[in-house]
Each structure stands twice: as structure tokens, then as C-alpha cells.
Amino acid sequence: MVKRLLILLLIILPKLLCLSGCDLLVTILTLSPFSGYLSQAVASVDLTGEIEKYIGAGGELWQNDIHVLKNDSTGREYVFLIIRRDPGGQRVYAFDTSLKLITQGETDFHSNLSLVDANGDFVVGHVRFYGDPLTSQSYYPANGYNGDHHAFSVATTGNYLLRSTGQEIEYYQVSSTWGPPTSVQTPLGTSTEMRLLGIGYDPQVFDPHLDVPGNPVYLFLHGGQQDKDEGFLQIVWTPASHYSTSLSSPVFSYYPVQPRVDGVRGDSDVFYTRKGVVAQTRTRGRYYLLTLDGEIQKQIQISSDEEIPLDFDIDGDYYYVFDEGNYRLYKANTGF
């Protein structure tokens, strides 16, 4: 009883203070050496057995990644955890949103692909998840789109993949059956075009996202100098219809480019949610919630100081992180 009162006091008192609008005070009071997702967690699952079975109890070199994908037409949403052995292949685990493991698929090479494809199936790594109950099909698509592609799909026209070659940005238009690319374009074909104004170095990742058919495809261009925390983010609104014909070049002068957001990490992923865009700040583990115009709405502390794999659901209500040390997958409130 006393302990509860104490906790209540510890929480209510600062809460009253923060009602006065002092965000800085809240930030200071909530600083912790422990990751923020621990107190945001609404569910978690221990995967020690599963993962050790795959990578070995000795814990050889391995990486992991998380993707949260939702098929809006069916309303089905899954969390995919990729465990990559190094050297070795990768295994993709599929969970429902209550973190119940449903199925898994495995390939003997790595792929970063993740999208709900034009058929409405979930393609993660090189595994296709389809049907109800969810079933996996490894080595899909067969044509080996397994590079550092960032992809989106349009149900009527097919799948679109973009990647940075380091020298240029190229994108492929691929049929809904994942046949050979029907179109390869280089909308940003020169290093001059690739350089964001005044930055002087190349964007490293392009994250396209098409949320609702008819809406623009939001291209998230972000980058930063190597070995430096300082980075930038620019959001370019591109019409989806142009991808099936031809993107007008140069992209930066032809399409609406939102004001550049500084103070973000250039080497970290950017996440699209319907509540805004989430990008990691220069302070490791702290994330901005941005509007599509690039304005900062909110900040949240997710991890302490380390880079952790995570992804947000499309609605922006939850994020999912994987604790590599304890092989535990967490589902946590965003608070957005």
C-alpha cells in the first residue's frame, strides 16, 4: 500500500508539474539509462528458444530486422522478424500483432525487401507470406530482387523497387507476378542531382511509401556524413501514376520537396505512419514525430543509446522492437 502511494506520488507530482507545459521538465524527469520501450511495452514474447535453435546457443554473428506490414484491403497486419546469420541465410518469423508466432520462412541468402505486394501478399526478405491462415513460401520472388531495394506496390500496376547504387538512384517497375522488370529508370542519374542542396554528400537511403491509392508516393530521402551523427531528411511527394510511366527528372525541381529537416541521424531508417513520419534524432534512441511537411510534432525516447531494430505500425499507435540481448520482441505504445 505504501509502495503504491509512493509510486503514485512519484508519478503524479511530476505530472502536475508537466501540466504547466514544461516539456523540458518532463524530458529531464523521464531520462533513464534504460530503454524507453520497456515502460511503453504492452506485450512481449521471449524468443530465446526459437532464435538459439536457429543461430546456435553459442550466438554466432547475426543481425536482425523488423518489418510491420498491413494489408489495408483485408485489414490483416503482421510483424515480421528477420534473423540473419553471418555467414548464412536468414529466417523470417511472422507474428500477429499480439506477438503470437504464426509461421516462419527461411532462405539461404539475405534480402531487405519488405512490402505488401500488388497481389496483397506480404513479401519479406525472400519469403512470401500469404493466405489465411498465414502460410510462408521461401525464395519468393523467384527473379531474385534481393538487393538493397526499397519497395512499394500499386495494386493495379504492379510493384516498384528503388535503390541507390551510390552513383545513381534507379527504380524498377515489376509486374504483379514479380516477372522481369518492365521498366528501369534513373530519375536521379547524376551525382549532382543526388546531392541535396547545400549538403554536399549523397543521400544513402530512399524509402518510398504509398499509403493510400491516389495519394502521392512519399519519397524519404535522408543521409548524412559517415561517422557523424548529423544528418538530414527531405520528403518528396511524387505522384504514384508517374511511376508506371516515367518520373520526371530532376525529381528535386519537378516535384514538391518539403523543407529539409536537420538534426536527424542520416544512418537510420525513417518510418511512415498515418500520424506522421518518425525519424531518429541525433540523440541516439530519441525519435521525432514529423508531419509530412517536415515539422516536428513530438519526441519520444525509445532506446537508451544503442541502435536497435524497430518498426512502426502504419497507424502510428505501436512500435515493435527486438531486444537482441534477451531475444525478446516487444510491442510498445508510441503515445502519438
Binding site: L38, Q40, A41, V42, R284, S304, E306, N326, G335
Partner: protein
């Protein structure tokens, strides 16, 4: 004997010459007609062979003094006193004897002279006293061979003596006020008080100690040392400004055997810590055990996570003694953070860490300490279930682990 007669003549001639010179040079002394008691020269030689020098020296002195304006008291006058006092003439070379007679005849100056000859070498001494002060004013001391030059030596002695004759007058009164009374007030009952060279001077009783009368001059600085069982010895330097001083002494600092800390740490602000220090050496080194409980919460929609930070530290003080108002403290140790969740089905975690070093600045009050402490903790990543892995524990992402504000009550 023949040559001795010539010698006497030469001496007289020399005396006359010197008399003139001295009279000229001592004009200022002559302007003050000191009443002078000139006693006959005493021959202290073992034989009578050189007795004639008595009169030579006496006469020369008499002549010079007169020339210089001294008022020579006639022998008849002091002779009566001498006889009454029972003093022999041969004793009149002694200063105290001569002063006794001179005082009775109300002389201002007394002048004695004596010599001794051995192996034809004369040792001559003439002394002049201020009667009122019973103090020697001037004196000459000469050594010479008995030959013709002896008269010159006598003349020189007299010449040197007379210019230096003047009354000393009463000794100057030193107008240096002293402290008459020093009272020390102290809350440290029974404390022993020591004063530099004086050593132990007393003990505080009923809050007060009246120091024994020691004539310290006003303005003097004295250092008081205070000793009491169970307390640190204290030193205080006091300036004595007034004849009667009432000085309130600073209280002694009790030797701290243990202290209880209340702490608040950045990165753990939704909680607090309690620690107990046990001093191995009072106020110098200690062992400490701490329990810091805090909640992790984002103050909006979190489910709280509970952390119990338990650690043991060894600490001590650098550069600064127990009596200093500000002290540097360092400590090191090991700890463990136990974590559990409000969320169901979560395991309990334990993060063991090395508290590499804590550096604190302490404000040292009599009963308590206020401190700010920088803490460096390194998570060891040990144990079957931990959350922090291996690395520096920091609430700031990078940089120092944390800062703590603390209060410690001394027991």
C-alpha cells in the same frame, strides 16, 4: 725614577693640551652643569709600584670634567658619607658602592676609575654612572705599556669618556596596552583549550573559559587549539583587539562514525536513494551501502518499470580535512540494478555494474553534508538476464553516467 719625573711632566703637558681640545669639543656637555661625584682612581695592581698613576688619572679627570662644565662635588662632602657607610677608598671602583655614596650627596653623575699594572702593562677602565637611574652611562677601557705613551693613553681615555656623558633620565614608559582579560565562550562543554607556547590553559566550563592573565599586547593574534574527546581538534586564530575580549569559539566538529544519505540522481529522478555510510576513520574513509529505488515512466501512458539499484561503495576524502567547509570525496564500488515490470509475464532482470568512480563536492556542515556527485558506472553485462548489456551506463546517451544531488545526516 729619573725618567718617571720626566714622564710626569710630559703627562701634565699632554693633559693641558688635551684639556683644551676636550673643552672645545665638549662645549655642549658643559652647558649642562651635572652635579658630579668624581671618586679617586683606584690602583688594583698587586704592588704599590704604580700608585702615582692614581693621582695622575684623577687629576686629569677632574680637570677635564671641570673644563667641560661639570659641577664636581668636593671630596669632603662625599667623604663623610663614605666614612659613615664604612666604605674603604679602595672599594670606590665598584659601581654600586660608588652609586650608594653619590646618591646620598645628591650627585647626578658618579665617575669611578681604576687600573691595574702587571708586567709593565696597564689596564685602565673609567666608568660613568647616572645616579638616579643607577645605570652606567659611558665607559672606556684601555690597555697600554708603561712607558711615555701611557700618558697619551690616559689622555685619550678621558677624551673619549667625557663626550659620552649625559643623563639617561628615567626609562621611557612603554605605552603598549595589553589585553587584561580574555573570556572564551564555547558550546563545547569540557573542551580543553591550548594556547601555543602556554600549552593547556583551561577547560570550557558552563560554556565559558576565562584565560589566565597573560599580557598579550593589543593587536596580537593568538591561536587557540580546542580538544575534546570524540571531536576533531580545532584551531582558531583570534586577534586581540580590545583590553577585555569575549570571544565566541567556533564549535568543534564531531567525529562522524556514520551518516545516512538521501540522494536524487539524474536519470533516476522518479525515485530516490537511501544510503548508510560507516566510517572506517572518522570523516576520512568509509564503506557505504545504498538502495536507490526509481520508476521508469514517461509521465503519460507508460506502464511503470521498477528499478532497485543496490550498491556498495568504498569512499574517502582528498585534499580536504574534516574541518573544511567544502570537501572532495571520491568513491568506488560495485552494484546491481534489479528490474521488474508492471507488465505481466515479464522476467526480472539484474544488471551488475562496476561503479568505477564517483567524484563529489561536499558542503560540510556541522550536522549534515550537502553534495553533488558525478558517477561513472560501467555495466558488466554479466548474469543470465540483463537489460543494459556491457558498456557505460548513461542517461544522456553519451557522456557521464549521471549526477546526484545528496544530503547526508551525520550521526
Amino acid at each position: 725614577m729619573k725618567y718617571r719625573g720626566i714622564g710626569l711632566l710630559a703627562a701634565l703637558a699632554t693633559t693641558l693640551f688635551l684639556s683644551t681640545a676636550v673643552a672645545w669639543s665638549q662645549e655642549s656637555a658643559a652647558s649642562i652643569p651635572f652635579r658630579t661625584c668624581l671618586f679617586p682612581t683606584v690602583d688594583l695592581s698587586t704592588s704599590d709600584e704604580y700608585r702615582e698613576y692614581q693621582s695622575i688619572i684623577s687629576n686629569q679627570l677632574r680637570a677635564e670634567l671641570k673644563n667641560a662644565g661639570f659641577d664636581i662635588i668636593p671630596r669632603e662632602e662625599w667623604e663623610k658619607v663614605r666614612e659613615r657607610q664604612g666604605v674603604r677608598v679602595s672599594e670606590l671602583y665598584q659601581g654600586n658602592v660608588a652609586l650608594g655614596i653619590a646618591e646620598e650627596v645628591e650627585a647626578e653623575i658618579a665617575l669611578v676609575s681604576f687600573y691595574s699594572v702587571a708586567e709593565r702593562q696597564m689596564v685602565l677602565e673609567i666608568k660613568c654612572y647616572d645616579v638616579a637611574q643607577k645605570a652606567m652611562i659611558n665607559g672606556v677601557f684601555k690597555i697600554a705599556r708603561i712607558n711615555l705613551s701611557i700618558y697619551n693613553v690616559i689622555g685619550e681615555a678621558v677624551t673619549e669618556l667625557i663626550p659620552g656623558i649625559h643623563l639617561l633620565g628615567p626609562p621611557p614608559i612603554v605605552e603598549s596596552p595589553v589585553v587584561e582579560e580574555i573570556a572564551l565562550l564555547s558550546a563545547d562543554e569540557d573542551a580543553e583549550i591550548y594556547l601555543g607556547d602556554e600549552g593547556f590553559v583551561g577547560r570550557i566550563s558552563e560554556g565559558k573559559l576565562l584565560l589566565p592573565p597573560i599580557p598579550f599586547a593589543l593587536g596580537t593574534k593568538i591561536t587557540v587549539e580546542k580538544r575534546k574527546e570524540g571531536y576533531h581538534t580545532g584551531n582558531e586564530t583570534l586577534k586581540l583587539k580590545e583590553p577585555e575580549m569575549i570571544i565566541k569559539l567556533q564549535p568543534l566538529r564531531k567525529q562522524t562514525r556514520s551518516a545516512t544519505e538521501l540522494t536524487w540522481t539524474v536519470g533516476q529522478l522518479l525515485g530516490f536513494g537511501l544510503a548508510q555510510r560507516i566510517y572506517l576513520r572518522p570523516d576520512l574513509s568509509y564503506l557505504s551501502a545504498e538502495h536507490y529505488f526509481y520508476v521508469q515512466h514517461n509521465l503519460s501512458d507508460s506502464k511503470p518499470v521498477f528499478h532497485h539499484d543496490l550498491r556498495a561503495l568504498f569512499g574517502g576524502y582528498l585534499f580536504t580535512g574534516p574541518d573544511r567547509a567544502a570537501r572532495f570525496n571520491i568513491s568506488t564500488g560495485f552494484g546491481m540494478i534489479a528490474t521488474y515490470f508492471a507488465l505481466a509475464d515479464q522476467p526480472m532482470y539484474a544488471d551488475f555494474y562496476w561503479n568505477l568512480i564517483n567524484v563529489a563536492l561536499e558542503l560540510n556542515f556541522l550536522k549534515f553534508v550537502l553534495f553533488v556527485r558525478s558517477e561513472q558506472k560501467y555495466a558488466l553485462g554479466a548474469g543470465p538476464a540483463n537489460l543494459l548489456g556491457r558498456g557505460w551506463i548513461s542517461a544522456f546517451g553519451e557522456g557521464p553516467t549521471s549526477f546526484t544531488l545528496g544530503f547526508a545526516w551525520k550521526w
